[in-house]
């Protein structure tokens, strides 16, 4: 069985010879280290330690982990008396291990539940190789669907963006999804159309996903870009260098309010000030219709040292810090949400309802 063909230049993981090779995203772009995983425990560790990040990429990784848990060479099969009960016990243990590897990742649970649905229907009396193949096939299907969704978003999004530079925040590329990326996938699509666009990359403090990962992906893709610190966005816009802003989303409320990496709200307000359209690109799985507005989305506050240290180097003393991981952009500042099923223009609760109807 062959893994899906990945359309992005950068890859968060590669499936080869019944192993997953993860590029260590903590080290990119200064080093390109690959970590090999041949069982579910190693995959859980790689998710927990943030070797791999990005909600869709984590989901695929977890699904691959569940398949690896039943690999024919897994110690599981060398136990004496392998029966249906033992297999189910092993399934549950592996599931728990992977579910706990990143407890707030929505896509992780979604992917695991989908594997669980397959497991419920599967004939446990299958030979190890057939069982493994069925699980792997489902993991590859999840992966393939992510790729297809990314490509659909890119096709819907690219024609929307007006001419001019494109500014983006955080990392929403192939490294985050295992496909083409969400917002960055749209940008790649614009680039591949050969319009010679320049991309403005917010470094994205404090964790620097823009400076490290988005810059890396754009360099791999061979696109023209400039790295800036987040506070230079208004300067670039005031000079007319930015024609559009496009970002991803961590969660979208029923009315279109969008939670995304902290700094997104700043950009949305600046874009409005300069009359620059502001787009969100995210798969429909990001839409949480049980949450009425952005006010009900809880914002994770992270440890102070993420801000006061950079790659282990202290940049200042241990002063009191406020370090929210996300912010909420009100739907009124969003020109359109780009999904794999089409575009929701000027999102409101009514527009989103109509789109989904």
């Amino acid at each position: 069985m062959k893994p899906p063909q990945v359309p992005g230049a950068a890859k968060p993981f590669v499936w080869q010879d019944n192993r997953v090779y993860f590029v260590d995203q903590r080290e990119l772009p200064l080093a390109e280290k690959w970590i090999t995983c041949s069982d579910e425990k190693q995959v859980a560790a790689v998710i927990r330690d943030m070797v791999v990040r990005g909600a869709p990429a984590i989901g695929i990784a977890a699904a691959l982990g569940m398949a690896l848990a039943f690999h024919p060479e897994h110690p599981l099969w060398s136990q004496s008396g392998v029966n249906e009960e033992l297999l189910h016990e092993h399934w549950q243990g592996s599931y728990k291990l992977l579910a706990e590897s990143r407890p707030t990742a929505v896509n992780l649970f979604w992917a695991l539940r989908r594997m669980e649905a397959l497991w419920q229907g599967i004939d446990k009396k299958l030979e190890s190789l057939e069982l493994f193949a069925a699980l792997l096939q489902e993991a590859f299907a999840i992966w393939q669907e992510t790729i297809a969704a990314d490509q659909a978003m890119a096709r819907y999004g690219a024609p929307l963006l007006p001419p001019g530079g494109i500014l983006t925040h955080c990392n929403t590329g192939a490294l985050a999804t295992g496909g083409l990326g969400t917002a960055l996938g749209v940008i790649f699509q614009v680039g591949r159309q050969g319009d010679g666009v320049r991309v403005w990359v917010d470094e994205t403090r404090p964790y620097l996903q823009g400076a490290r990962l988005t810059a890396y992906e754009l360099a791999q893709e061979g696109m023209d870009f400039r790295l800036i610190s987040d506070n230079m966005a208004a300067s670039a816009m005031s000079r007319g260098w930015v024609g559009s802003v496009i970002v991803g989303a961590d969660r979208i409320a029923a009315n279109g309010d969008t939670a995304n990496k902290v700094g997104t709200l700043n950009l949305a307000i600046l874009a409005q000030h300069y009359g620059i359209p502001f787009y969100v690109a995210a798969p429909l799985s990001t839409l949480d219709r049980r949450t009425p507005t952005g006010q009900e989305i809880p914002i994770e506050e992270r440890e102070a040292q993420e801000l006061t240290r950079v790659r282990g180097t202290a940049i200042t003393a241990d002063y009191p810090v406020w370090n929210p991981a996300f912010d909420i952009t009100p739907h009124s500042l969003i020109r359109a949400i780009i999904t794999e099923k089409g575009v929701i223009e000027k999102p409101t609760v009514q527009e989103i309802d109509r789109f989904l109807a």
Copy 2:
């Protein structure tokens, strides 16, 4: 002769026993190293190497350097045949050395020209001690006037600020002026009035003056503050935590457009969006009436490594960077400019003319 009494908790330099002791601002707050200067060459090195920064502080340092050049124990006096011509030659050499230590610093030239005016009128036949005393007196006068201007800005500014948290950018404190500070001086004044205000400190990428120096000064002063990355400002504002924004200025055009550390424009736009008043605190010497608008102010673009490295640690690869040092905030976004002579409300070319008339 005693040096001026400095009202700030933090000090960029101390005069003692005919020497200047500079705190190394490159190392603050992780280390408090003091560098001793006993002649003009050492002072020039300290300015060049950015041990001391901040336009007013550099001006005072240069004036003290010119005085030290004529210290009675300076090698100058041990030469044979010290005459008026030799003294003048030594003056010119010292002047050039200090003027070239930071070639774009306006206050540096202003302070040196003021020392020059004294030199022109001085009796060169004075004993070394009398000559030194006359120069030192003038340097102390420059220092004392800076302190008085800072205190006047603080008195004018503090009553303007509405209740609520105060957000600031970069470092505009005692370390930058040798007095109380400009924008941070106003904040200290509010704090000393005992209103229990919380200060929001932008870390100020790429050089991190906020994270390093403003946080240090606020901690020394014992004020309540929270350090944030620059892109968290909108989040704090959206929660109602920010009642006002106050920043310094590097140059103010005739119409009130203000050049200041990059990131200031972002804050001004965000403040307008949330209806939060945005103030600039700067001495009148910052006002450049020969520059009609902000468009004519040149913006220094600095080297890429200032962004891609932090304290010598690479945070990403050597990607293409745009690194402007300043941005221009249009006067329409400024509620008032606070000067040592009073407040210019809603600055325009007319308002500024009227104020100066």
